[in-house]
Structures are given as structure tokens and as C-alpha cells.
Amino acid sequence: MHQEYTVIEGDFVNAGKASSSVKKTLKQLNVDPTIVKRVVVALYEAEVNAIAHAYGGKVLVDIESDKIKMVVADKGPGIPDIALAMQEGYSTARPEVRDMGFGAGMGLPNMQKNVDKLNVTSEVGVGTTVEMEVNF
């Protein structure tokens, strides 16, 4: 099953709509609630990042019989140092993002904790792609 969502820059009101929709689908498919939580927390973190840091992007979700694959690809400034961005507490978030309860430098580390596979690729001035997989 393939699903696609568009993420718009600065659109915090709709942040989490893709994750919410994926949550509903996985519940309908009777996926273990513990796994559903891991999936949607990771996807939500990635969605918020794309809205907070980039100029919008796409969320692509593929649900297979034994796993879910998620790609969040944004057009944005990119991440100059991915290893640094993966460190808990490191953040470049604007005050607006912090006002929404995010921007504490916990997003990428939390994604890593919740997924079975995480791959972050980024090109400065072009954008960032976060690929995640969770096994059922």
C-alpha cells in the first residue's frame, strides 16, 4: 500500500496530519499498537522537522506485509553536519518552532530510537531525505 502526503513550509497547524493518517491505516491493519506508536512517533518527528527547517517536502509511505517504509524528503537548506545533527540536544530551530513545543534537538535521536533502519542524506542548499523502516 502506497501513500503520499505533501508537507508545507511553516504549516504547523497541519504538522502531523500524515502521521495521523498512517496511524489510522496501521490500526485498521491490526498492527501491534507498540509498533504503531514507534512508527508514528518517528514519522511525526520527521514531519515536524520538514515543516520547521525546510521549504516543504513529501512524505512517502509504503506498507508491506512485514514492514513499513517511510521517506520524508524536503527541499531546504540541508544539514551540513549530519553526525552533529544526530546528537541529542543539538538544534538550529527558530523560536517559532520552540513555541510549538519542539526544537530541543531530540528529533533525529528519537527517530533513531524508534525505527529499525534510519538513513539520513542531505545536500546543503538542496534538501534532506530521511528514510526509515520499521519491521512488524
Binding site: A15, S19, Y44, M100, F102, A104, M106, N110
Partner: protein, 113 residues
């Protein structure tokens, strides 16, 4: 203690979730930082001063469904709609987060860690 007892203790208003007031609450977590809420493995009651649609969305993702909003922050219509879709309880009270935590702790509500 039940949600109904919590409402009484905190002199709170039930914004949504009247049908769930007899449910028991054992644990609570207090934070304005949604990133912190997203790291929880358990599903405690959330005490927060952050009052916007992301509070509800975060709780939905983290499978938390009982929220106490402190300091009389205005719970908006879009928050209520999203909360209703997810069968959540939202209580609002005038007390500070510190006072809410103190009262609930004294009444036997446990921390997660």
C-alpha cells in the same frame, strides 16, 4: 484516583471527555516540551502549559489521551475537534504547573520515573 476526583482536586473545568470521568489515573507526566512527550514509552496523564493544536497531535502520536492544561490557557476549537476525534479528555485549570503537580503527587498520582 478517578478523573472526576482530579477535576475536584484541581478545581478544573472539563473541556472535553465528560464520558470518561470515572476512569482511573495512576501516572502523570508534566512537560511543555512535546519532544520530551514523544520519548515516553508509557501513557500517563499529561500536565502541560503548552496549549495549541500540536499538544493534541503529540498526545495522539504518543497515545496519551488525558491532558491537564494549566494556568487557564485557552483550549481552542481546533484542539477540541482533534481531541474529540481521538476520544481524549482535556481538563483546564487555573493553578500553576507546580501546584498541579504538587496536589496530584500528594493525592497519590505517581511519576513515571
Amino acid at each position: 484516583m478517578t478523573i472526576r476526583e482530579i477535576v475536584r482536586l484541581l478545581n478544573a473545568t472539563v473541556c472535553i471527555g465528560e464520558n470518561r470521568l470515572d476512569e482511573e489515573v495512576e501516572h502523570a507526566f508534566a512537560s511543555d516540551l512535546m519532544s520530551d512527550v514523544l520519548t515516553l514509552k508509557d501513557t500517563p496523564m499529561l500536565i502541560t502549559g503548552l496549549c495549541n493544536v500540536q499538544t493534541i497531535r503529540t498526545c495522539d502520536m504518543a497515545t496519551l489521551d488525558i491532558i491537564v492544561v494549566v494556568r487557564n490557557k485557552k483550549v481552542t476549537e481546533d484542539m477540541l475537534e482533534l481531541a474529540e476525534d481521538n476520544d481524549m479528555v482535556i481538563l483546564s485549570c487555573a493553578y500553576s504547573m507546580f501546584k498541579v503537580c504538587g496536589l496530584l503527587y500528594q493525592a497519590g498520582i505517581k511519576p513515571l520515573f
